[in-house]
Amino acid sequence: MEAKKIQNYIDGEWVDSKTQDYLEIRDPAWGELLAIAPMATPREVNDAVKAAQNAYPSWRNTPPVARARYLHRLIALLEDNFDELSMVQTKEHGKTIDESRGETRRGIEMVEVATGIPSLMQGTNIEDVAMGMDEYLINQPMGVFCCIAPFNFPFMVPLWFIPFAIACGNTFVLKPSPRTPMSQVELFKLMDEVGLPPGVVNLVHGGSEVANGLIEHPLIQGVTFVGSTPVARQIYRKCGVEGKRVIAQAGAKNFIVVMPDAEIEQTLVSLITSFFGNSGQRCLSGANLLIVGDDNFYRDFVDKFVDMAVNIRVGDGLDETVQMGPLQNADSKKRVIGFIEKGISEGAKLVLDGRKLNLVGGVPETCFLNPSVFENVTPDMTLAKEEIFGPVASILRTRDLNECITLISASPFGNAASIFTNNGKWSRQFQHEVVAGNVGVNVGVVAPMAFFPFGGRKDSFFGILHGQGREVIRFFTEPKIVITRWF
């Protein structure tokens, strides 16, 4: 049977790409061919941007409250299709169905917040800046924006940007990850059903050539990106050269501190989710586990953590008893294995070897790893420094909270950091001093809600304004100052 060809969505129409270059999209659990996705041509990229530019004048003149009504209709459709949207995420990415449902919910929350645009976009004013003169600020949309999306949250991440951008009156071009494009196809089917005017949202598939085509296109006003640090840095530089605004959310190496007074049982469940949820393929995953406490506390805690990790059921994410799915593709698995081997060669102690597979449901081994846990990791080791993006926990023993904060400060990354404790003073010191954009207190995955910005510092973020919340409204608008005097 011929694989289903994914289409681009340009100017309100589903269109076949003219390219000869297609990428196979396979279910990472079973290896089944799900579809083939085009690597769009430069002309198609241009068509999409042009369509967005043509749609912009009338869309920006559509009242914000009317723009919000399109989003209200989209929410209703998203709710109606909640489970189908979640299934597609699991099929193309491999995450568990619970994780996909969580992702769907988070995506919908973004649209919900964006419907508040008539309030969120309001400006400010003051009378009598001078005798008989008034001054006010209005927030205006800018034109065409684009998003270059990652593979790990194929449904949610584009929704960090699209609903806010179009609610502000901009138009949009999305390039999903070539590894996981199907979730966005489903979303765009619903946006088509909502009846958005042609060209307001456009979808072009492809890899780095399409991304560069968008970034360099003179009609693109700003770029949003989520992905690795090297690429984020490159995009940030390029946007600087092009004079475009940019949100580039990048890689991470997140630290989790466990103090000796932590609530053990609840902490363990949170840590297991943090380190092994989404198979470790998220920028908010725990990576380095810093344990403070005496020998007994340390041993007891680590043994329990390893015991829970051993018992995680790994298999097809659509099996409801499965708690961890595969890596998204075989290359990702190979990359993670490389880190495990490096950890061993640098002297860390592998106490749980995820390369020894224990899978449920008879799935092929191609993309799977079980959880791995290293002890005796030191800050200079590759395991402690580099982003692994897989189900590997590195445990570092630390003397006290000050040492933990010093270690976290020394990391080039600054996406998330968490502390588990019952002590208010430690907690307060941690949140005050730690250099990370998202800080958790007894929370393992510090995912900001849609109405707060998604933090990120140091090499985990390039830009000024962050995604989500009021900051992204500011990103997608330009303030205009008006001063009036009437004679």
Binding site: D98, G102, V446
Partner: protein
Amino acid sequence: MKLNTMAAVMSFVTKLENDAALFYQGWAAKFEELEDIFSAWSKENKTFEKRVKQTYFGVITDAIESTFSFGRLDTTDYEFDSDLPEGANLQDVKKMAMEIEATLTNFYFEAAQQSEGLMADLPRLFKHIANKREDRLTKLSL
């Protein structure tokens, strides 16, 4: 079977509530004394299932540890046999109903306890349903 994810708990809730609803629907038609109450409970079972699903879909986020929240729930502890012979009398039916409600009460209390530290809305709903079932037990024992 161990229920270790919220997705699995949701599917099991659907099975439990549907099985119990079928039991009430079937016997409501056979005993006039039970018709009103069993018909109402059959409908309410569907509502319970719907509310669990709505709450689950409504509150689940990737920050919520739904994949690892349940460790000690086992379906074998909460399975019930709702088959009664055609000629069963009123007392037999009431006795079976009490067994079903006691089983479901235990299930919801245990599910609430296991998910308590992690998900606010679901344990609250699980407790609410367990309390409702305790009310049913009281009615059945009268």
